[in-house]
Structure formats: structure tokens, C-alpha cells
């Protein structure tokens, strides 16, 4: 197989993989609606709306052990 053919196969594989990954991600977002921390994705809009330094973070970073 020539390098050009290899490139072409690689290209098709990458394209299919990325397309499937993107649609899987869409499916995941809209069926699960919450991320692994249990936050609804839409809550994250509050990161912009409640952004004073004294506001409570939407998902607090765990303190260092």
C-alpha cells in the first residue's frame, strides 16, 4: 500500500471516529443532562452570573489534602 493510500484510509477512519464521537457526546449531553459530579449542565451558566469573589462557586474545588 502506498503512503497516499494509507493517508486516505487514515483520513476516513479519523473522520468516522470523530463524527461518531461528536454525536455520542451530543447524545450523552441531552440524555444524561448532568455531569459526573451531579451538576445539571445548565447550572454552569451561573459561573458568569454569580461571579463576585465572595459568591459560592457552582462546584467548589476540593481543598488540597
Amino acid at each position: 500500500m502506498s503512503i497516499a493510500e494509507l493517508q486516505a484510509y487514515g483520513y476516513v477512519v479519523a473522520l468516522v471516529f470523530l463524527t461518531v464521537a461528536l454525536y455520542a457526546y451530543i447524545y450523552h449531553l441531552y440524555t444524561k443532562r448532568k455531569d459526573s459530579d451531579g451538576h445539571d449542565y445548565e447550572e454552569y451558566s451561573n459561573m458568569a452570573l454569580k461571579d463576585d469573589i465572595t459568591d459560592t462557586p457552582v462546584s467548589e474545588k476540593p481543598k488540597k489534602k
Binding site: Y25, Y41, S45, A48, D51, S59
Partner: protein, 492 residues
């Protein structure tokens, strides 16, 4: 000192903001001069024959493109980063001495490099790669500036209180990574003096690529420079400033994530549309066209998300000139991301390429989308930086309408000029002889060039009104923190 409550530190934002306004005026003034020169070529020597070398179109054109893109836009992006970054990560720069030092170094090295760039471009020192005109010593300087920014991003993220990164932060990170990669690969070059054992100027270099490869790398760079300097960081800005100013949550946060990954996936493949009908392989051209058309989807995903954020709140658009800038900005974003894919279709590009239609496309994006978002971002930040209300709402509204008129004159004249040009260049008689010579097109285009120059001048006038408004804001009525929650306070 110890007992003062913790506050966000905007000193670096302030520096970049001042620079945005200053370079914006200079860069657009040069644009306006260029526009008048195209309509009235005598203006190439407007400072006399003796200085013609420095005032002619070709010398000034690079100064325009580089100063507006890397001076005006990048400064605004960084002003916004140093503002938004702290706020959505809920951490102050003042909490880390290192971050403060990095931020200040970032600004001052950038400022010094910009000054050198202006001088070197005026002297005619360039590598002649569009948007990457800088010679190797400056390329090294740019790398340092970029790494300083990267270190600042990483540092701020490391000490954040908010675990999840807000969508704007993703766009900033994408900007950082993509431009770093583009800059490095497109500027691989050999300093001729050192490579040849002492021939030529010490600062001169030649690209490591040649011929078609050079063209490919150059437009992979050029296209993505547009994508990652004039698009992704601007989306980062609108995702913060529009919800914040209007007090509305983003219409769909999920859609914002989706549009982000879609954009990242598609953008990098579309560069081929700058090289249609050239010597690059056919499949690269076709791929460039196809991906350009697909690019509508993630682009509109973000833009529609912004428009829908105002759902049920359109009275705010009517009432606030600041929100008008952002809504008009995302509308122009939709507009130029519809126009771009159309121009990327091969048969359309056959007419559009090399013509003023492309210049029209560039500026409905640059003036309508990028310029308006920069203006809106600074109007939103200024009251919070100075704890004062915006000096004048009516001045802001006047600016909005003057600039909008300017943009409309700019792109409509360029459409007509471009399509006229494209058609005249192709026209031929029954034997295949060209129907027109080049000068015939120039004569026909004269009125449109004049209209464009008027439009550009209006835009510049609006921008100077903006600078004045911000300047007066620094001494306007002081406001309480409670007035700064959402809608920015404005004087009459």
C-alpha cells in the same frame, strides 16, 4: 492591608484596555488612509514625494492588518482574559505575586515588541507571509509573549476556587493552544546571515517551506489565525459579557459545549478554501470547501445561542446600546459565517477570489463582529475597572448607529465592486479574447471605493467617540458595587 477583603485585581486588564483603544485608533486610521488611497491614488504621496516610501499603499497595508489584528484585537482579548479569567474562576490575581509579575511582563514585553514591529514594518522589513510578516528575532519575541500568557492561564487555573471551567475559559485555552501551534509551524525559517556564513542582513530569514508546501502551510496558518484570533477569543468574550450584562443565563449551556467541540473539529480543516484553483492537491481544495460549508453549523450554534439568551428580554436590546452592540455583533457573526461558506464553494470562489468581495467579507466580520464585541467588552468592563458609570449613554447610542451605517456602506460597496470585478475579469468575446483590460475595471470601481472610504471614515469617527466616552468615564459619577451587578450604569 492584611484586613482588606479580597478583591479582583484589574491592573493588567487596565493596561491592555488602554492599549486596545490607542492601537485601535491608529490601526483604523491607517485603514481609512488606505481606503482613500484606493479611491484617489494621489494620496499615496500625501506627505510629499520625499516620504512616499512610507506613505504608499503597499507599505501601509501590512501596518493596518497587523496593528488591527495583533494590536487592537489581541489587546482586547487579553484585557478580557485578565478580567473574565479571574471572575469565572473566582480567584484574584492579587493572591499570587507570580501571576501579577507574569501579567505585567506579558503586557510590557508585548508593548515593546509592538513598537519594534511598527517601526520594522514601516521600514519595509517583512517575510512577506501575510499576517506572519515578522522576521525571526520578532518571532522569538512573540513566542515569549505567548508563553507568558500561557503561564498566566495555567497559573490562574491552578489556584482557582471554581472547579469547572466556564465555557469562555475553554475558548481562551483553544486560542492559546492553536495560535501557539500555528505560529511555530508557519514561522519555521532559517536566518540567512547565520545559515550562509555572513551574507545579508542579520535579521533576514527564509521560510523552511517552498512552493506549494509553503502556500499550504501559510494558509493553514492564515485561515486559522482568523479562526483563533478573530473568532474563538471573541466567542469567549460574548459568552461572558452578554449573559452578565443582561442578567440572563445562557440559553443552553449544553449547546455551548457542543458548538465548542464542533468548531474545534471543523475549523482546522477549512484552510484549503484560500487556495482553490491553485497548485495544491485537488482533494485538499475539496476538503476545504466541504468543511467550510459544515462550519456554518457550529458557528451558528454559538450565535443563535447568544440571540436566544435574549429570549423574552428584547426590551433590553431596545433599551441598552451596550446590548445592541453585542446583538448586532452576533448577527454580523452569523452573517460572515454564512457569507464565508458561500465564498468557499468552488464555482463562487472562481468569481470572488482576488476581488473586493473578499475584502467585504473580511470587514463585515472584523468591523461588525470583532469590532463591536471589543467595544461592548470595554464598555462593560470600564465601569467595573473605575467604579464609575459610563459617561454618556446617548453618545454610545450615536456611536452605534454611525458605526453600523459605516459597516453597511463598507460591505455593500465591496460586494458590488467585487462581483463587478469578478464578472469583468472573466468576460470574453466569442473568440475567447478578454472583453476588458484591468484599467477598465478600476474605472468602474471608483465610486464604490469612494463609498467604502466614507463608510470606513464613519466607523473611525464612531471609534473616536468611543475613546472619548471611555476617557470621560474615568472621571464620571462614582457608583456603588451594587449598581455593577448586571446592566452597566450609564449617564445620560
Amino acid at each position: 492591608m492584611e484586613d482588606r477583603p479580597l478583591e479582583y485585581d484589574y491592573s493588567v486588564t487596565r493596561l491592555f484596555m488602554m492599549n486596545t483603544i490607542f492601537v485601535g485608533i491608529v490601526g483604523m486610521l491607517v485603514g481609512v488612509i488606505l481606503a482613500w488611497q484606493m479611491a484617489y491614488p494621489e494620496l499615496n504621496t500625501f506627505l510629499g514625494e520625499g516620504l512616499a516610501e512610507y506613505t504608499n499603499f503597499s507599505r501601509l497595508r501590512v501596518l493596518h492588518t497587523d496593528s488591527v489584528i495583533y494590536g487592537f484585537v489581541l489587546s482586547a482579548v487579553w484585557a478580557s482574559w485578565y478580567y473574565i479569567g479571574q471572575r469565572v474562576l473566582k480567584v484574584s490575581m492579587a493572591e499570587s505575586r507570580t501571576l501579577m509579575i507574569l501579567g505585567k511582563l506579558h503586557f510590557w514585553i508585548y508593548f515593546a515588541a509592538s513598537a519594534i514591529i511598527v517601526v520594522s514594518l514601516l521600514m519595509g522589513i517583512t517575510t512577506s507571509k501575510e499576517y506572519a510578516e515578522f522576521e525571526w528575532p520578532l518571532d522569538l519575541g512573540i513566542t515569549i509573549i505567548w508563553l507568558l500568557w500561557g503561564a498566566g492561564i495555567a497559573g490562574l487555573i491552578a489556584i482557582r476556587r471554581e472547579k469547572t471551567l466556564y465555557i469562555s475559559i475553554w475558548y481562551f485555552i483553544a486560542t492559546f493552544l492553536a495560535v501557539a501551534m500555528l505560529h511555530l509551524f508557519n514561522n519555521l525559517e532559517i536566518p540567512t546571515y547565520f545559515g550562509s556564513g555572513g551574507i545579508g542582513a542579520w535579521y533576514h530569514s527564509v521560510s523552511m517551506y517552498a512552493g506549494t508546501n509553503d502556500a499550504l502551510v501559510q494558509w493553514w496558518f492564515g485561515h486559522n489565525a482568523v479562526a483563533f484570533v478573530l473568532t474563538t477569543p471573541i466567542i469567549a468574550m460574548i459568552y461572558y459579557f452578554l449573559p452578565k450584562e443582561s442578567g440572563q443565563a445562557i440559553y443552553s449551556y449544553k449547546l455551548s459545549l457542543l458548538a465548542f467541540w464542533g468548531l474545534m473539529f471543523v475549523y482546522l480543516w477549512a484552510g484549503g478554501h484560500h487556495l482553490l484553483y491553485s497548485t495544491v492537491p485537488d482533494w485538499v481544495q475539496t476538503m476545504g470547501s466541504v468543511f467550510s460549508v459544515i462550519l456554518i453549523l457550529p458557528s451558528w450554534g454559538s450565535a443563535i445561542n447568544m440571540l436566544l439568551t435574549m429570549k423574552g428580554e428584547w426590551q433590553q436590546v431596545a433599551a441598552s446600546p451596550l446590548i445592541k452592540f453585542m446583538i448586532m455583533g452576533s448577527t454580523f457573526y452569523m452573517f460572515s459565517t454564512l457569507e464565508g461558506p458561500i465564498q468557499a464553494i468552488k464555482s463562487v470562489n472562481a468569481i470572488a477570489h482576488f476581488t473586493d468581495w473578499i475584502i467585504g467579507h473580511v470587514h463585515d466580520g472584523a468591523l461588525g463582529w470583532v469590532g463591536f464585541m471589543v467595544v461592548a467588552a470595554i464598555y462593560h468592563m470600564a465601569p467595573r475597572l473605575f467604579n464609575r458609570e459610563i459617561y454618556s449613554k446617548s453618545l454610545m447610542a450615536a456611536q452605534f448607529w454611525i458605526q453600523t451605517l459605516g459597516i453597511v456602506l463598507y460591505f455593500t460597496s465591496m460586494w458590488i465592486a467585487g462581483i463587478t470585478q469578478g464578472m469583468m475579469w472573466r468576460a470574453h468575446d466569442e473568440f475567447g479574447n478578454l472583453a476588458y483590460s484591468f484599467i477598465d475595471t478600476v474605472e468602474v470601481l471608483h465610486p464604490y471605493f469612494t463609498i467604502r472610504a466614507v463608510g470606513g471614515t464613519l466607523y473611525l469617527i464612531g471609534f473616536i467617540m468611543f475613546a472619548y466616552n471611555i476617557y470621560k468615564t474615568t472621571s464620571a459619577r462614582e457608583v456603588e458595587a451594587s449598581e455593577l451587578q448586571n446592566a452597566s450604569p450609564m449617564g445620560a
